[in-house]
């Protein structure tokens, strides 16, 4: 067992930062579920729902991306 405790803290911190991605996952799941239910009930709205679904996915994915940016910042000693 050797090494720098700061390095260990960086890895732990990056792992903890990625917990926030769970929220993004839940958000994406919920929006896809809503869109699929809508498509199953009314298949004619497929194109319109797909566009809005991808837009919603992008917004909830952005939160997970911020977590990933923080994890990168810690992991690769940018800051």
């Amino acid at each position: 067992m050797e090494g720098n405790i700061l390095d260990a803290a960086r890895f732990v911190g990056a792992g903890l930062a990625m917990i926030g991605a769970a929220g993004g996952g839940v958000g994406i799941g919920l929006s896809v579920q809503g869109a699929l239910t809508g498509m199953a009930r009314n298949p004619d709205t497929y194109g319109n729902l797909l566009t809005n679904m991808i837009l919603g996915i992008a917004f909830s994915e952005a939160i997970a991306i911020y977590c990933m940016v923080i994890a990168f910042l810690m992991l690769f000693k940018v800051v």
Partner: protein
């Protein structure tokens, strides 16, 4: 009838290639790839130095960028030749012209559904160009040889390379592989450049559609004097819109970069997990094919949707003004 039975020999080629890869991976043990966020420099000295921006290095994503542009240009040339040939003869597109026409007709229908027929001709070129370019940037990463063929550098904290025929003797230092070609979408410069182009052109199209009234989305002072409290609220919401334009750039760039970088890390880790069994990374590569196509679609689609939102005013006043 039995003499006409089809002999599907091509699938055996894939199996033979997999077995050859398995055996070769056992003989030439690959050096564990080094995971770096920034693109590696192929030459240590800068190519040239610009006065303000700074030194300009030959990184290993630059050859890939040229390669990507070449592939897109070749496809464009042959599509144009095929389409002009069919325009001269009987107006029936054949071959690659037909394929591209079907592909872009699908995309144009999608654009028209989201933006309406008035702004579709303005928005469609940005959507289709970004999507096509990012698609090829993502898919060229999967060609064998990318990120695996390169120069070995001796570094103190490198990975061991015993057992490989290239390095018969044991050395005390490890090695780091600097590949010649690295997928261009695994470079933040590339994704940031396309994100900035996309968001900037969104503003330009917004100004084209609504004139100077487009900026009232960001500095909303119209309702400030009529209803003081909610007017101030609207002004703050406008400031938030300004911030969200900048966060669009960040989320565009990091969405593509993060997905593609995760692909590299996944392949590297899975290749190192089971040692000489080198079939597993090819499974991950199949997943990467899926991810690359989806990310290109999402990048283009989001550009298109944001541009469509910019053409529509958020209040109803403009629509009534246009109707009169």
């Amino acid at each position: 009838m039995e003499t006409q039975k089809r002999r599907p020999w091509r699938r055996w080629v894939v199996l033979v290639l997999m077995i050859v890869g398995f055996v070769l991976g056992g003989i030439f043990v690959p050096v564990q790839p080094e995971i770096t966020v920034a693109a590696e420099k192929l030459i240590e000295e800068p190519l040239f130095t610009l006065p303000v921006i700074g030194p300009f290095y030959l990184v290993n994503t630059l050859p890939t960028l040229l390669f990507t542009i070449l592939v897109v240009l070749v496809i464009a040339y042959f599509t144009g030749r095929s389409l002009s040939k069919s325009a001269q003869t009987d107006l029936v597109p054949r071959g690659i012209g037909n394929l591209m026409e079907a592909f872009f007709e699908l995309l144009y229908g999608m654009t028209e559904g989201a933006t309406g027929s008035k702004w579709a001709p303005v928005i469609f070129p940005w959507f289709a160009t970004i999507m096509f370019y990012v698609l090829f940037a993502n898919l060229l990463k999967l060609i064998p040889g990318f990120e695996s063929i390169g120069i070995l550098h001796q570094v103190a904290a490198g990975h061991p390379a015993q057992g490989s025929l290239l390095m018969p003797g044991e050395t005390e230092n490890g090695f780091v592989l600097v590949p010649f070609l690295r997928g261009v979408s695994v470079d933040l410069n590339f994704t940031f450049a396309i994100a900035i182009i996309s968001v900037f052109m969104t503003q330009v199209i917004g100004v084209q559609a609504q004139g100077a009234g487009y900026f009232s989305k960001f500095f909303n002072v119209r309702t400030m004097f009529k209803t003081p409290f909610f007017g101030a609220m609207d002004f703050l919401v406008g400031l938030l819109e300004t911030i969200s334009e900048f966060s669009k750039i960040i989320s565009f760039a990091f969405r593509l970069f993060g997905n593609m970088f995760a692909g590299i890390v996944l392949v590297a880790i899975v290749a190192g997990l089971l040692g000489k069994i080198s079939i597993l990374p090819s499974m991950i590569m199949m997943f990467e094919l899926f991810v690359g196509v989806i990310q290109a679609f999402v990048f283009g689609m989001l550009t298109m949707v944001f541009m469509a939102q910019a053409t529509q005013g958020h209040g109803h006043e403009e629509e009534h003004a246009e109707a009169h």
